[in-house]
């Protein structure tokens, strides 16, 4: 049990993901699936494995050969026996070889088959885990019913005996790594998938489009493709000289099938339907405005579906769409059975009738031939009718998946232009960081950061620069700042002049990203700039906290603007505080108990803080307050302005990042479409500010506007 726990810990990092993994593994459905699989492996031997795959591997071991394809053909084996690459061979080798060893000791032929079956089981389990990791939030029961106990999966792997478990496991596992932004590992896995089964190449264009169209992920493309290429080269190139490899793996009848389905165009001219449909699907994906992970997964599924619908029926290939169908079901729980049940039943009936199966050990009679042969129902018309039904129900699922994917994808489509966010207040922000920490949700690559400090008219060492000037908007080149904002908003990059410590000038490029974040004392000061900001935030930290908001203390990277004289105080009120009236969202931080301040400075520990939030009424604060009180046991005081236009929240209490994450999932629909793979939610007041800002942004992106009461 302990090693089991450790194994699960490798896959997952979060408590909730871990808990779901435990739930998955402790379910009786999981045990049922395992036992059924083991019974199949112990009792049955699929015909394909017996005459082709196991034969192929055992031949290559007697004597041991580096090129199993040549060894196979030399010994007079069939050319169809192993149309897979080296990865497939190596993956199935160890356990099969071990079984073969036992067989030779006992002089039987049984355990090589068990070893072979267990290898399939291992990758089959790998697919289950990958789907779970991709889905992140899911009903374990639904996942187990839809995948682990699915008759189709059991049929393909353990009765019909196909080997698609390995390439599909590698592909889906690769997507998991991609989602976690480990592009090199993902590339390695995709390369292995292709080298296991060449047809996995069909997924690559979708992956390229997905990465290319998501600016945040685009730079991963290079790493991914290079590792994929290297992996494929290493596992394929050495064999290209071998004619047996070329004839058995590359020039198979399987490859020829691409051209099997066509429309006659008069004379000898043919229109091949598969390439046509495939290119069309790619184009549809390319044309999408934005591609979320969910839609990407669905489009890969749809791309594979194009193969299913426009290729002569091949039972194993149906497995390709299964993980994507299951993910679709986990997202869209209703109606799944109604849509998929006819497809699944027709699939099972059709293939039991017309495809090879397995022999059962305890029964003398052979059961591996297509059932239609036994009952004498080789009526070609019936076969065609069943086939038509199968294709029709498959097409139906495609349409449903596409429509759902598109509607889901469109959730955050309300906003067509770059989103401008201005944060003013009495704190000086760091570069590439904001007091509301949204970069930890969107990823820094999604945000163009502009800091007022970079628009200082006097550089740091200039004699004109003093603390007094910091408060005066005339010390900053605000027109250049707004010019830069508008340039970025048009999608063009800007160049900033920066002074390094040694007073050397250098230029810095800032790319135009989806969010433009302007921070600094006066970011809402001039109208032109303010009007371009879709969300205006004002953050005011109580001045008694100035000793804590200091980069020299470990807990803060923010510095409070410090003023000492009355004149500076007047300047602050005149130039900075005045911006409050323009803000959509106001945060105020103050100590709960000012007496604790003295003691705190000695310990360099931030005292307990109270966060006050002011925002527009009737939006989401009720839900937020319920969650804060109910889920987290926080103390919240709600007040509304006299005309009920604004709402004021005063929040006290300890809140962890896990609490924030859970509330975020409740308050922000389809959060995973906005956030990076593993968003970092903050703890305490930072987390609350992050959460409340995120809800505002998600609402803007969904509806395309903000209710401004300024």
């Amino acid at each position: 049990m302990n090693t089991w726990n450790q194994l699960i810990s490798i896959f997952t990092t979060r408590i909730e993901e871990k808990r779901l993994m435990y739930e998955l593994h402790n379910s009786w459905l999981f045990r049922f699936g395992i036992i059924t699989r083991l019974l199949f492996i112990i009792l049955c031997i699929p015909l394909l494995q017996k005459i082709w795959f196991i034969q192929f591997i055992t031949t290559s071991l007697q004597p041991i050969s580096f090129n199993p394809w040549t060894a196979h053909l030399v010994s007079g084996g069939e050319g169809m026996a192993f149309p897979y690459g080296y990865t497939m061979y190596l993956a199935y080798l160890p356990l099969t070889a071990l079984g073969l060893g036992i067989d030779q000791l006992l002089d039987i032929s049984y355990f090589s088959k068990i070893g072979f079956g267990l290898t399939s089981l291992f990758f089959d389990y790998g697919i289950l885990i990958s789907i779970a990791l991709l889905a992140r939030k899911y009903s374990t029961k639904l996942l187990l019913v839809a995948y682990w106990c699915s008759p189709i999966v059991l049929y393909i792997f353990y009765w019909h005996g196909q080997l698609d478990a390995l390439p599909i496991c590698l592909l889906v596992w690769g997507i998991v790594q991609l989602q976690r932004e480990r592009s090199r590992i993902a590339g390695l896995l995709f390369g292995m998938a292709i080298s296991a089964k060449l047809s996995m190449l069909a997924a690559i264009p979708f992956i390229i489009i997905y990465l290319y169209r998501n600016r945040r992920l685009r730079k991963q493309l290079r790493f991914l493709l290079s590792t994929t290429l290297i992996t494929v080269s290493i596992s394929v190139l050495p064999f290209l000289k071998s004619s047996s490899f070329v004839s058995m793996v590359l020039q198979t009848p399987e490859t020829e099938r691409i051209f099997n389905v066509f429309m006659p165009y008069g004379g000898d001219l043919k229109l091949f339907l598969l390439p046509l449909a495939y290119i069309l699907t790619l184009y549809l994906v390319w044309r999408l405005e934005r591609i979320t992970l969910d839609l990407f997964l669905m489009t890969v599924g749809l791309g594979f579906f194009a193969f299913l619908l426009l290729l002569p029926p091949a039972p194993g290939w149906f497995l390709w769409v299964i993980p994507f169908l299951v993910l679709y079901q986990l997202r869209y729980q209703d109606e799944y059975l109604i849509t998929t049940l006819p497809f699944f039943s027709l699939y099972i009936i059709y293939n039991l009738m017309y495809s090879t199966g397995a022999d059962i050990h305890l029964i003398d009679q052979t059961t591996s031939e297509p059932f239609a042969n036994y009952i004498g129902l080789n009526n070609i018309k019936l076969k065609s009718v069943l086939f038509t039904g199968l294709q029709a129900t498959g097409l139906l699922i495609c349409v449903r998946m596409y429509l759902f994917g598109i509607s889901r994808n469109n959730y955050y489509r309300g906003f067509k232009r770059k989103l401008g966010i201005g944060i003013a207040g009495n704190i000086a922000n760091d570069e590439n960081k904001s007091i509301v920490s949204i970069e930890k949700i969107f990823g820094s690559d999604a945000i163009s950061f502009l800091n007022l400090a970079d628009y200082d008219k006097w550089d740091k060492h200039h004699p004109m620069r003093s603390s007094k000037n910091l408060l005066n908007p005339n010390s900053y080149n605000l027109s250049r700042l707004s010019g830069d904002v508008f340039t970025l908003a048009e999608g063009k990059p800007i160049w900033q002049t920066k002074f390094s410590e040694k007073k050397n000038k250098h230029l810095r490029k800032i790319n135009s990203n989806d969010l433009i974040l302007v921070t600094g004392l006066h970011s809402l000061y001039i109208k032109r700039l303010r009007d371009r900001m879709d969300l205006k935030i004002f953050v005011e930290v109580d001045e008694t906290l100035k000793n804590y908001f200091n980069p020299k203390l470990d807990n803060s990277t923010y510095q409070l603007i410090d003023w000492t004289s009355d004149k500076e105080r007047t300047q602050y009120d005149k130039f900075v505080s005045t911006q409050i009236k323009f803000a959509d969202l106001i945060f105020r931080l103050s100590p709960i108990n000012s007496l604790s301040l003295k003691d705190g400075i000695k310990n360099k520990r931030l005292p307990k803080l109270k966060l006050e939030v002011e925002m527009v009424n009737g939006f989401f604060h009720e839900e937020l307050v319920h969650s804060l009180i109910g889920l987290c046991g926080m103390h919240v005081d709600v007040q509304q302005s006299s005309l009920l236009e604004n709402v004021f929240l005063s929040i006290e209490g300890d809140i962890t990042s896990e609490d924030i994450e859970q509330i975020a999932n409740l308050l922000i629909p389809n959060l995973e479409d906005l956030a990076i793979g593993h968003p970092e939610w903050e703890t305490g007041y930072k987390g609350l500010m992050q959460l409340i800002t995120m809800v505002h942004i998600s609402d803007l992106l969904h509806r395309g506007r903000v209710d401004n009461y300024a």
């Binding site: 049990m1 302990n2 726990n5 408590i15 909730e16 871990k18 808990r19 435990y22 739930e23 319920h626 969650s627 009180i629 109910g630 889920l631 987290c632 046991g633 300890d654 962890t656 896990e658 609490d659 859970q662």
Partner: protein, 252 residues
């Protein structure tokens, strides 16, 4: 189906309906199991405790707290269980960790405790027809108030009594007498008591002459002997239908 077990009762429009909370308004066990698992995972993460040791110690700490406090509200306190667990494991007073584990417990618990279907509709209709509704529940007030807030029921009930307020868990009669007092009623009024546990809710209900309803579910058997409810039901829509029929007949 609402099934009548005590034939001597004719249902009339009630003067008030009193509800238990845990396992009556929502399913307790699935949420509890998930929450305990989440705490276990977290404790292993934070402290690196072996799972078997964790389980054994958790059971032991639960037992100790329960025997120490008897049938009182705080005998169910997760915070006390986790604090004792940490002490038994030799971690001394790790107060932050205990609080963190407690919060992890309730966060996971609530996220996995949806209100049963039909509850909200029933409560809304009762309020619409001016039938006072109340809660009598074990456990401490703070967490029970948090639960009701989370369910968006914080302004629904006319009276709210926890065993913390009374000093003893149900079936202690004082819980039920207090709720009558808060509602301004007495034992002669036609009060209904709805709960899941025969030994506490039904027995307690009987102590104030209430008509008793048991929601049948996995955890408790149908009550027998002096725990025998007057009515049993599986779904709230059955109870809802029965109430609606009474309203109709009383209006005509």
């Amino acid at each position: 189906m609402l099934k009548q077990l005590n034939s001597s009762i004719t249902l009339r429009r009630p003067d008030a309906i009193v509800f238990d909370t845990d396992n009556t308004l929502y399913e307790y066990e699935p949420a509890n199991a998930k929450a305990e698992k989440a705490v276990e995972v977290k404790a292993q993460n934070l402290l690196g405790i072996d799972p078997d040791l964790y389980h054994a110690t958790y059971q032991k700490s639960k037992k100790e707290i329960k025997s120490q406090l008897g049938a009182t509200a705080s005998s169910h306190s997760r915070l006390l269980y986790f604090q004792r667990l940490l002490e038994l494991l030799g971690f001394k007073a790790q107060l932050m960790t205990a609080l963190d584990l407690e919060q992890t417990f309730w966060r996971t618990f609530l996220a996995n405790a949806p209100l049963l279907t039909g509850v909200r509709e029933l409560l809304d209709d009762l309020r619409f027809h001016n039938i006072p509704i109340a809660i009598v529940t074990d456990l401490t007030s703070h967490i029970q108030m948090r639960k009701l807030t989370y369910f968006h029921l914080e302004e629904t009930f006319d009276a709210f009594v926890t065993s913390e307020e009374v000093g003893a868990d149900k079936p202690d009669q004082r819980n039920f007498e207090l709720v009558l007092k808060k509602l301004g009623l007495n034992k002669t009024h036609n009060v209904w008591m709805v709960g899941d546990n025969p030994a506490t809710d039904i027995v307690g209900g009987k102590s104030i002459n209430a008509v008793t309803f048991q929601r049948l579910q996995m955890e408790f058997e149908q009550g027998d002997g002096n725990c025998k409810p007057d009515f049993i039901f599986n779904h709230f829509k059955d109870l809802h239908e029965c109430v609606l029929n009474l309203f109709e007949s009383s209006e005509t």
